[in-house]
């Protein structure tokens, strides 16, 4: 945490742990403290990111238990790579890249040893069919407009713990890339550029994935949230 960094040259591209010039001051401080072995910094990063890391990992592996193990493996990789981290992307974007690599590798290993059926999500119940529908494109008066418009949602239902359970369950059924984007954007509130960095995708692609994911999660709530309204 040496205060006298002002005279330090920032042109260095060496792979030594020094070249963090591109990072925000907050990220740079975090990296410095981690490198120095500061436990409370480490724990605060865990606190902020652990749920998201597990949720992202679960896109590739068969269970939450395995995802927790993947996160541990990822942390080993993150800590070991820390001295080489050059700060070309924000710290957590870099962390998630490592995590996703670990999760992919673990998922590939599992696919070789676990019968495929065990990896399918147990989603026979509550297959959500659309509760709304559109008129056909050749409808003489209102092509593509609502045939059956969305019913009003009862606001108090969304405040219910059940809503969160449903959202969580639906997110767990999404394909990995949709799950990653909705987890980081909507749950964790990352900004779009950082998510693109972590996942190596374009802004446009990210919006497509986010939209699909949101559409499915809304859909999963639709029949239930409107239930009590006539």
């Amino acid at each position: 945490m040496a205060a006298a960094v002002s005279s330090e040259e920032e042109t260095d591209t060496a792979q030594q742990g020094a070249a963090l010039a591109l990072l925000t001051p907050e990220d740079r401080a975090l990296v410095d403290r981690l490198r120095a072995g500061d436990e409370s910094t480490f724990l605060s990063i865990v606190e902020k990111n652990h749920r998201a890391m597990v949720r992202v990992a679960m896109g590739y592996v068969s269970s939450e238990g395995v995802a927790e193990e993947v996160v541990q493996e990822a942390w080993v990789g993150i800590l070991q790579g820390l001295h080489k981290f050059e700060g070309r992307c924000p710290l957590r974007a870099w962390m998630f890249r490592i995590l996703i690599n670990c999760a992919k590798m673990r998922g590939a290993r599992e696919a070789r040893s676990v019968p495929f059926s065990a990896l399918e999500s147990e989603s026979s119940e509550g297959e959500c069919r659309p509760v709304e529908s559109f008129r056909p494109p050749d409808d003489p008066r209102w092509p593509g407009h609502w045939a059956r418009a969305p019913e009003r949602w009862a606001d108090e239902r969304l405040a219910d713990a059940e809503a969160l359970i449903r959202i969580k369950a639906e997110i767990e059924k999404l394909p990995p890339n949709q799950r990653q984007v909705i987890t980081l954007r909507d749950i964790e509130d990352w900004d779009s550029a950082e998510v693109c960095d972590a996942l190596g995708i374009s802004e446009a692609n990210q919006r497509v994935l986010l939209h699909r994911a949101r559409t499915r999660v809304r859909q999963a709530l639709a029949g239930w949230a409107a239930e009590e309204t006539p």
Binding site: G37, L43, R51, G144, P150, R214
Partner: protein, 85 residues
Amino acid sequence: MSAARPQDLACRELVELLTDFLEGALDERTRTQVEQHLVLCPGCTEYLRQFRATIGSARKLAEEDLPPGVREGLLDVFRHWRHGS
């Protein structure tokens, strides 16, 4: 119901534009079309409200507690690394 003039967006198209709309990623003309459609169409207005409510509710998942033992397990990883490095 909204007025179905040919230059209007259909509801089916509008719901596909909502993330781009919320992200500010639509071109000026399309954004205006979406806004005008929403003014006239209670169905799409409700859909947008639900879309936003879904996003707002998803955010609450960030507040879940960590499972027991997670901090301790990871702290072990951290200490191990610190001693090894």
